[in-house]
């Protein structure tokens, strides 16, 4: 039992990654849209776990706040606003489904074919490792502090542009969704 727990602790990223994959599969395959949203929520929570385990703490928390706290709730609102029972999909799969699946599987096979050597070949022994210390300069700084320095010093202009984009998007959403009669 203890051995198993230790093993899980060492492979926490794999556990979270598989959970994310399961949530994503549920999202795609569930017939009921609410179940899809729950699968999406599960996938996003597991992704936050992934971020935490590869040492991007701030991104993990931001993922929790933005996705699990905001976007999933927004999706749930709209799913319940839109009466889905009226336009229920007859079947999950349509005429184009086999083609789509073939396309995706072909893409996956091509990817694995290209990267076979790096993933499973002899060079996998010296696989790229995530470098454990984020800091190059040797200063003792947390992940959030580092990120804020990058964001507000080096990438200030993209950050400001992003905030303008968000403002425009929110105004646009209000204009799009408001009713005809004022």
């Amino acid at each position: 039992m203890e051995q198993l727990l230790i093993k899980i602790g060492q492979n926490l990223f794999l556990v979270f990654g598989l959970m994310a994959l399961g949530g994503a599969a549920t999202m795609v395959l569930a017939k009921n849209a609410v179940h899809s949203v729950i699968g999406f929520l599960f996938a996003m929570l597991s992704m936050a776990g992934c971020y935490l385990t590869i040492g991007a703490e701030f991104m993990g928390v931001a993922q929790l706040l933005v996705y699990a706290g905001g976007i999933v709730v927004l999706f749930l609102f709209v799913v319940m606003l839109v009466e889905l029972s009226k336009s229920r999909e007859k079947g999950l799969f349509q005429r184009q489904t086999p083609f789509a699946l073939v396309l995706v599987v072909a893409g996956a096979v091509a990817f694995v074919g290209v990267f076979w050597r790096t993933i499973f070949g002899s060079s996998a022994a010296e696989a790229l490792t995530l470098s454990p210390n984020l800091m190059a300069q040797g200063e003792k700084l947390g992940n959030a502090q580092m990120l804020s320095r990058g964001l507000f010093a080096e990438y200030l202009l993209p950050f400001e542009i992003l905030s303008v984009i968000l403002l425009v998007a929110l105004v646009g959403a209000v204009v799009l969704a408001k009713t005809e009669r004022v």
Binding site: M59, V66, L134, G150, L151, E154
Partner: protein, 100 residues
């Protein structure tokens, strides 16, 4: 610390599930969710490479991708709601007119 290949593999699988969802499903809401999933897979890649190079650039841009994803969801859901008001459906197969 997990190996880089594992991170890239997981993010690739998530991305392909997102692509499969966009291609298979006909519900506009679920297509939007699959697009979000693909953005997240890209984010995972960015963070993994940021960790690998030991700089903070990738994480900063992952944060920006997250903000853009929020904007995209706001606009997308507003469009879905407007479509539902006009056409009473959100099945993308039945939305085939340029004129409202």
């Amino acid at each position: 610390m997990p190996s880089m290949n594992l991170v890239l593999l997981i993010s690739f699988l998530l991305f392909s599930i997102g692509v499969a969802g966009v291609l298979i499903r006909r519900n506009a809401l679920i297509i939007l969710m699959c697009a979000e999933l693909m953005l997240n897979a890209a984010n995972l890649n960015l963070i993994a490479f940021a960790r690998h190079s030991g700089t903070v650039t990738g994480q900063a841009f992952a944060l920006m991708v997250m903000g853009l994803a929020a904007a995209e969801v706001a606009i997308g859901l507003a469009i879905v709601v407007a479509l539902y008001r006009k056409k009473n459906t959100i099945t993308v197969d039945e939305i085939n007119l340029l004129k409202g």
